[in-house]
Amino acid sequence: MEKLEKIDATEKGRNYRILLILSVFIFTVPFWAGLIPGSILHMDIVNLMVLAGTYACAVIGLNLLVGYAGQISLGHAAFFGIGAYTTAILCTRMAWFPTWLGVILGGLVAGIIGWLVGVPVLRLKGHYLAMATLGLGEIAFILFTQLKGLTGGTLGILNIPSLSIFGLEFDTEFKLYFLIWAVVMLMMLLSINIICSRVGRALRALHSSDDAAEAMGINTARYKTMIFVLSAVFAGIGGALFAHFLNYIDPASFTFFLSILFITMVVIGGMGNIWGGLVGVIFLIFLPEVIQGLPHWIPLVPESLTNFGNYELVVYGLLLILFMMYMPKGIAFGLSRGTSYAKTKFGHLRDRISARKYEGH
């Protein structure tokens, strides 16, 4: 046991360092992103990153659920939507309502609903759980559409105020960027602490086998529900931030396709790798933009292909297949394998150099 704790501690330390480096990088992005002329870049990095940040909240939680607890969910758009609608309804009905409280309540309400549905549904396994969560997502979408008095129906909710915390207004993308990514980094910090702890070990046991975990005296149902609720809270907070970012929400933003996008982000980023969620979000948010930008950068792509918006999706679908074929465990694993490969190679070199020095003596 002591040994396991030691491993966890070193793992934690390593992840903290990565988090620190990543934070430094992420928080400097808005300063240099504006310097690249739009005529070359053909994308709005800050805007995309803000959107990515809101999605990241949901995906980090979902990664804990899918990658560590081994439970699939094809309905996380529902919790994202519940968070968005909670804060949108509160803040538009009551002008005095503090927006930051709306975001917190968005997470809470999503968590409570997650608990209510999670307790019964998590008894299902594999594809049956996938179906049940997919159904829940569809039901939530229909309720967003049908409960007109509350949600504004298909027309959605307009004029959602921008976030402000104790008089500090986050009314531009530039300001919002720092807030949202700070939230994302906090969630990452929390995830690292969960994974590198007793809970994390229990989860890993659960992932490899329910029965074995039960035999080890782990209350699997409790852990599954706990992680499910946590992922719902994360998604709810992400959704609430999304609502305050766009100032407008409608049911079309929370469909089955968003749930699929979330799970794709988890898997392509690296299921069961702490950083997988983040990598997946950023990769899949920027991929369509990069594909769209290609004809501007490489004039070889004939214009007839780029018109009528069809070639992006062809390439997108193909890339999804190729990435999964060559990195079936996700990009984050591919990256860490690459770095460890480099490390061992570099390490060998260092050893050899020091060995030579020694010989020289």
Binding site: I142, Q146, F256, I321
Partner: protein, 328 residues
């Protein structure tokens, strides 16, 4: 060891019982609809069974691939969409006779399905099930985008095989195409069931999914099994898409809805079971029409999904599915 065998036998027996129970439930629902609403109820049942057969055909495609490889193919709906659109191209645009167009369309889609298996799925041996699911999602996005490029976004019409004049009886009406759908579904389920339960290759394929080592002892490799399953599922999907197109038109975007409902039907009936796919499809179809007729229609899909979830909570492996622990 004895205990395991015993449990297996019991499960088999139980499955048979459940099969009859489900059939009884379907019959009961139909009788209820008839007695309560008279000719209106009959109409619901007829339309519901037509829609349900469509779902059942797609669900069977899911089940074939799942039974042999444990993969959920989220591109299954796209096979049906492609079948319908290719039928339109060959029969309406090129002007070939219907039977030839049918054969050509099914051949093209089957080749695509088999090709995808060889080019991608086959090379991903050992990848997690979720990774394989994401690959099929990527494939469905790709097919949809290419279909949109070729055929545009407008829905197209495919002429019914036997005219469009509805037949009327007992105050209800039915379009002739429905008989094609019923007949095709019945033949398909019987063939698929017999193949997987009565023939050696079929049994081998099922074994290949459960235990690759044992299967290779019997002489069935997981590789052949997977290829065969994808080929069959693509062919069935394409044929289904062609048969149902005259009822509901065809468009590049229809695969999503078919896939979603087909998946729901396959799960409801129990993954990997052909009769289960049909039972699940029919229940889902009748349920949809009835809830649209009896509840505020905006909630009809919500009611259908709620019932599926409730059924799963009572029977976590679907109506006719075999209980087994699975991992993501």
């Amino acid at each position: 060891m004895r205990k395991v065998v015993f449990r297996g036998m019991k499960a088999d027996e139980k499955r048979n019982r459940v099969l009859w129970c489900s059939i009884a439930v379907v019959a009961l629902v139909i009788a209820l609809a008839l007695s309560l609403k008279g000719s209106k109820g009959l109409q619901w049942v007829i339309s519901g069974l037509t829609v349900g057969s469509i779902y059942a055909l797609v669900a069977m495609g899911f089940s074939i691939i799942y039974a042999s490889t444990r993969v959920i193919n989220f591109a299954q709906g796209e096979f049906s969409m492609l079948g319908g659109m290719l039928m339109y191209t060959f029969s309406s645009q090129v002007g070939l006779p219907a039977w030839l167009s049918f054969i050509l369309a099914v051949t093209v889609v089957t080749a695509l399905g088999a090709g995808f298996e060889r080019a991608v799925i086959h090379r991903m041996e050992g990848a997690s099930v979720v990774a394989l699911i994401i690959v099929t999602i990527g494939f469905s996005i790709f097919i949809r985008a290419v279909a949109k490029w070729i055929w545009g976004t407008d829905p197209v019409k495919i002429a019914a095989f036997l005219g469009e004049e509805p037949l009327r009886f007992l105050g209800a009406s039915i379009v002739p195409q429905s008989f094609w759908v019923f007949g095709f579904t019945a033949v398909a389920v019987i063939l698929v069931f017999l193949f997987f339960n009565r023939t050696l290759p079929g049994k081998g394929m099922r074994a290949a999914a459960g235990n690759p080592d044992a299967a290779s002892l019997v002489g069935v490799s997981t590789s052949t099994s997977s290829l065969l399953a994808w080929t069959m599922a693509a062919a069935l999907g394409a044929a289904a898409g062609i048969i149902i197109a005259p009822i509901n038109f065809a468009a590049y975007s229809f695969g999503v809805m078919l896939g979603l409902k087909g998946f729901a039907a396959a799960i409801l009936g129990g993954l990997g079971s052909a009769p289960g796919a049909v039972v699940g499809g029919l229940i889902l179809g009748v349920l949809e029409i009835m809830t649209a007729g009896a509840f505020p229609s905006g909630y009809k899909d919500a009611v259908a999904f709620l019932i599926i979830i409730l059924v799963l909570l009572v029977r976590p492996q679907g109506l006719l599915g075999k209980p087994e622990g699975e991992k993501v």
